[in-house]
């Protein structure tokens, strides 16, 4: 039977752990709110961009147009962009992304494709390095500190574009966590290059809603050449925002659980401590009473 002192020490240590996890939960909640606000604020730009792209895309049908839109015409080399967090203590956030990434990579390899990996975030790199160290072509960490900005997305896109222009890959897919709520995040794989063709049903009303055919200044090709990389940046930015929100949501949930677990452990330890104290008292009483009876 451990002594009362060891119990007290253990309880105190669990209590201080609980304080830390509680504080982390609070911080995560505040950051989550900020991340969500940022995601909402970024929406108008993305929507306006989509609209322009839809009206432009209508004039480039059936595999014409720049390579960014139509693809390189082959799908031999795949670039898998794995967007994770830089830090842990966030439940299954990082591992669920990495699991999906592993699955995707294995399927692609089984199909006889060449795979290159672009890690955005330290945790993804650390985990993927074990299995696929030779395939990781690029890593970027410490994005979005202290605050995620469009510039961060531009950095990522610049590197992707550099690789694409050098013909280092044909298809790019990004794997990230889509934010649904603080409790649920959905691991999503989204193809970026070439963008999945918009379905005819969605493209047609968009063009019809505009009512008129746009004039272009300078011309379609030039605008498109300018617009597509920018659209890519917007997509990446969205991915980073969703990921940030998911990360904090996940961390909040994880820390909430941890605080609750710590509470349970404290309760259990207190009970055990009281029991053992009671046992000592009872034992001493029995000794006294039986001693008195013996006289």
């Amino acid at each position: 039977m451990p002594s009362l002192k060891t119990f007290r020490l253990r309880i105190r240590s669990v209590q201080s752990t609980q304080k830390i996890t509680k504080a982390m939960k609070m911080v995560a909640a505040a950051k989550l709110r900020r991340a969500q606000e940022q995601a909402t604020a970024a929406r108008p730009y993305a929507e306006a961009m989509d609209k322009i792209l839809a009206s432009l895309g209508a004039s480039f049908k059936g595999g014409t147009g720049p390579r960014l839109l139509a693809g390189t015409g082959s799908d031999k080399v795949h670039l898998v962009i794995v967007a994770t967090g830089d830090r842990g203590l966030c439940g299954a956030f990082n591992s669920s992304i990495v699991r999906e990434a592993r699955r995707t990579i294995r399927t692609l390899i089984a199909d006889g494709k060449t795979v290159k990996i672009f890690c955005v975030g330290r945790k993804g790199r650390d985990q993927l390095r074990r299995d696929f160290s030779t395939m990781i072509v690029e890593t970027m960490t410490d994005l979005g500190r202290p605050r995620l900005s469009f510039g961060d997305a531009q950095k990522v896109t610049a590197r992707i574009m550099e690789m694409f222009d050098a013909g280092e890959f044909d298809v790019a897919t990004v794997i990230f966590n889509r934010f649904k709520s603080a409790m649920t995040q959905i691991v999503t794989a989204q193809q970026l290059i070439p963008p999945p063709a918009p379905e005819a049903s969605t493209a047609a009303p968009a063009a019809a809603a505009g009512g008129a055919v746009y004039e272009f200044e300078p011309d379609e090709g030039e605008i498109l050449a300018d617009l597509l990389p920018r659209n890519l940046t917007v997509q990446i930015f969205r991915v980073l925002l969703e990921n940030a929100a998911s990360f904090y949501g996940s961390q909040m949930t994880a820390m909430d659980n941890a605080s609750r677990n710590a509470g349970d452990v404290i309760k259990k330890l207190t009970l055990q401590m009281n029991r053992s104290r009671q046992a000592t008292i009872t034992k001493e009483l029995i000794e006294i009473i039986s001693g008195a009876e013996a006289i």
Binding site: A48, I52, F150, A212, Y214, F216, P218, I223
Partner: protein, 137 residues
């Protein structure tokens, strides 16, 4: 009188959404004014000054850097990479930006870096010129 519903958006957030009598956008092929009923147009935007008119007066001015403008008879949406209210920008800031870009250019090691720096420098110069021009009016 009909108005143009004007929106100025940056990647991070929407800067302005308002009804205006006229908007003057610095298009890459020259400034163009947008009045209600303008022909549908998509244009790229060069670094310069964007003006929002109420009546005959330019109520608000913004320094914008690159991006696109989408114009329909009712709406005008400008997607800018960067946009700042004109009054908040001082010539010193822009001069500093130009110097920073120049430093980048001298430090540039690769061709790609050099190209980026050159672009940034051109943007900074354009902005300074635009600022000086509009400030004197």
């Amino acid at each position: 009188m009909a108005k143009v519903s004007f929106r100025l958006v940056m990647p991070e957030r929407e800067l302005l959404a308002t009804e205006a009598d006229m908007v003057v956008v610095p298009g890459s092929e020259g400034d163009f004014g947008v009045l209600p009923g303008h022909a549908p147009l998509i244009s790229t935007v060069r670094p310069g000054v964007l003006e929002v008119f109420q009546g005959n007066k330019a109520e608000q001015r913004f320094l914008v850097v690159g991006g696109f403008a989408e114009v329909t008879p009712e709406r005008c949406t400008v997607l800018a990479d960067e946009a700042l209210p004109f009054e908040q920008v001082t010539p010193e800031q822009l001069a500093e930006r130009e110097r920073a870009a120049e430093r980048e250019l001298t430090d540039a090691a690769t061709d790609a870096e050099k190209a980026t720096a050159e672009k940034a420098l051109a943007v900074a110069k354009d902005l300074r010129r635009a600022q000086a021009y509009y400030a004197s009016r």
